[in-house]
């Protein structure tokens, strides 16, 4: 399987390894000599961090409410990106409208229809559904084999499969709902299987090239061109902030939000009090998928997506949630922004090849810190 991120290829001029320390020192010196560079790095970090924070918030939600540790988080992000990209390229949708479109499509894939009449009808037609989906899947596989001219057939077959998946209650019904009350490792591995499948299906559908959408907006320059801020990125950050605010308000104000918070605290008590926890779980998961999808649609406008980039977002989401803890929304946002900035600084100082390593090392550092904290309380981290 291809790795989404690439380390730097080995040095063109051999024997450069001894210069690594010099290089680091030089990079730090640059930061001190030109304080404005710090500012630029911070802005970049905050922009990336805002999107990490969205994926992380979704993860904190499903982790806290359903005790599902979703390793497919990043693939939902990339999936949302491809939804927007496909609609813009094939239907001619405006890229900015791709964000709500990805939100809706990913919500449906995440199981938003669970419990609605159409899903109940699908349940009663299980046998027919299995037949239709197997035939469609076979058509899909054969069509992909036959090459370019069969591409459209494969596309339609894929569309039918997706619709079938959606009215069956989405990924939620087939996999997630069955791991909620199971042990902790189960959800981790099951969603990992989903992540592998998702990445590969996207690879087969859209190819392994990186894709992006160009909004065609200008770039703003500050401080004699030392700091450049593309307007597209600004819009992306504003949209991310708006989405986060909307979700916060929803969780605070709406009845469903209250039901979700109640279920997170004590699912049994919530059930006793008449909350349909099944519905809450399905809703929470589809909300998570929707948030990720919207984040992906923003990412495709400001950076690039690729089928195998998912894991990088999953790793970040886990780092952030582990650092901030569950049910701590301001913490998640702060940690997201912080990690975005730390990564930008790290890759500036050590080189871009260390970016992934820095994120993972941060995760380990956070785990060790929390471990020591727990040890003082004579407890273990579990």
């Amino acid at each position: 399987m291809k790795r989404g991120f690439s380390g730097p290829k080995r040095g063109e001029n051999p024997g450069e390894e001894a210069d690594l320390m010099d290089q680091i020192a030089g990079n730090i010196g640059l930061l001190i000599d030109y304080p404005l560079v710090n500012f630029k790095i911070l802005i970049d970090g905050v922009m990336i961090g805002a999107l990490f924070a969205l994926a992380a918030y979704g993860l904190a939600l499903v982790w806290g409410v359903m005790n599902v540790k979703n390793l497919a988080q990043g693939d939902f992000v990339i999936g949302g990106g491809y939804v927007s990209w496909w609609l813009v390229k094939n239907v001619g949708l405006h890229p900015l409208l791709g964000v709500p479109a990805a939100f809706v499509v990913m919500a449906l894939l995440g199981g938003a229809l669970h419990g609605t009449p159409i899903h109940n009808w699908a349940r009663s037609q299980t046998k027919a559904m299995i037949w239709v989906s197997s035939i469609t899947a076979v058509v899909f596989v054969i069509a992909t084999y036959m090459g370019e001219q069969a591409g459209s057939i494969a596309g339609y077959a894929g569309l039918i499969l997706t619709i079938l998946l959606i009215i069956n209650g989405g990924i939620y019904n087939l996999v997630i709902s069955r791991v909620i009350e199971r042990d902790l490792f189960t959800s981790l591995l099951a969603t990992f299987g989903l992540a592998i499948m998702g990445a590969q299906i996207m690879n087969l559908l859209f190819g392994s090239d990186t894709q992006s959408l160009d909004l065609g907006y200008d770039t703003l320059y500050f401080a004699d061109g030392l700091i450049d801020v593309p307007i597209a990125k600004l819009i992306g950050v504003v949209m991310a902030a708006a989405l986060a605010t909307a979700v916060i308000l929803f969780m605070k104000r709406s009845r469903m939000g209250q039901a979700i918070r109640a279920t997170a605290q004590d699912a049994r008590a919530a059930r006793v009090l008449g909350i349909d926890t099944e519905k809450v779980y399905a809703f929470t998961f589809s909300l998570n998928a929707a948030i990720c999808g919207a984040a992906g649609a923003i990412i495709v406008m400001v950076w690039v997506i690729q089928p195998f980039y998912g894991i990088t977002y999953s790793v970040r989401a886990f780092v952030i949630v582990t650092a901030a803890g569950l049910g701590n929304l301001p913490g998640v946002i702060a940690a997201g922004l912080g990690i975005g900035a730390a990564e930008q600084y790290g890759s500036h100082i050590f080189g871009i090849g260390y970016q992934q390593a820095i994120a993972v090392m941060l995760l380990l550092a956070v785990l060790i810190y929390r471990l020591m904290q727990q040890k003082r309380n004579r407890q273990v981290l579990q």
């Binding site: 040890k375 003082r376 309380n377 004579r378 407890q379």
Partner: protein
């Protein structure tokens, strides 16, 4: 001679004072009881001793050694063993396996553990199972035993572990009343025959009055009374606490 010294221990959860300024001593070789109404802080004190949570102030000494900052496994390896209010046994193993797993690992080097269990170990396991009356059920999966039998098994496992001090958290709770007398008898024999110091939390006054040399009574997190069973039994404050007068 005292073996556990709890002095001036305080512990609060948020604003609730679960223990405040509690001091007790457990005499070596004796049976010490801890009683008190629900919510009086008995289990909190117990958990502080065995290392489940930190204490706010005070000191807990075991054989003169400060243990209030140690972790659960370290304390257990000193020979201070506890049983749980809700029994904890290895439900998937049979009774003999449960007994063999309880061999005193703290006395073994890594090399000793890389051996199979000896015939003597099995014999001792069988003997102790007989002591608690579970010999006939020794090859049954322990999860399939009744709750009372599981408690007896946990007790046998504790004896197998050759502890110096055994801390029992409500040993008679949930046990069929007809079996309680047998259990009291076995606890007393464990104390006299195996020389194990017992420290018992108990709700049932009749049980504890029958056994303990010294009894401490907690109420609202504070030490209310202490002394021999007669003293405590006749203490008006204890009676009030149990009857709910404040």
């Amino acid at each position: 001679m005292s073996i556990i010294d709890v002095s001036n221990v305080s512990k609060s959860y948020g604003g609730v004072k679960a223990n405040s300024d509690v001091s007790i001593t457990v005499e070596k070789g004796g049976i010490t009881g801890l009683i008190g109404p629900n919510g009086s802080g008995k289990t909190t004190l117990f958990n502080s001793i065995v290392g489940y949570h930190p204490i706010d102030s005070g000191s807990i000494k075991y054989e003169g050694q400060e243990i209030s900052h140690m972790q659960v496994p370290e304390i257990a390896r000193l020979g201070l063993l506890r049983t749980f209010q809700q029994t904890r046994i290895y439900g998937a193993m049979d009774c003999v396996e449960n007994m063999l797993i309880s061999l005193p690992h703290r006395k073994m080097s890594l090399w000793d553990t890389l051996r199979s269990n000896t015939a003597e170990d099995r014999e001792r396991a069988g003997h102790l199972l007989e002591f608690v009356g579970l010999y006939e059920k020794r090859h049954l999966r322990s999860g399939s035993l009744s709750f009372g039998q599981q408690k007896l098994l946990e007790f046998a496992m504790a004896l197998m572990n050759e502890p110096t001090v055994l801390l029992l958290d409500e040993p008679t709770a949930g046990i069929n009343p007809t079996l309680i007398n047998g259990l009291i008898d076995r606890l007393k024999r464990a104390n006299s025959e195996f020389g194990i110091t017992l420290f018992i939390i108990e709700h049932n006054m009749r049980v504890i009055m029958n056994m303990a040399d010294t009894i401490y009574c907690l109420a609202h997190g504070e030490l209310l009374a202490s002394g021999s069973s007669d003293d405590v039994q006749n203490d008006q404050r204890v009676i009030d606490a149990y009857l709910g007068a404040h």
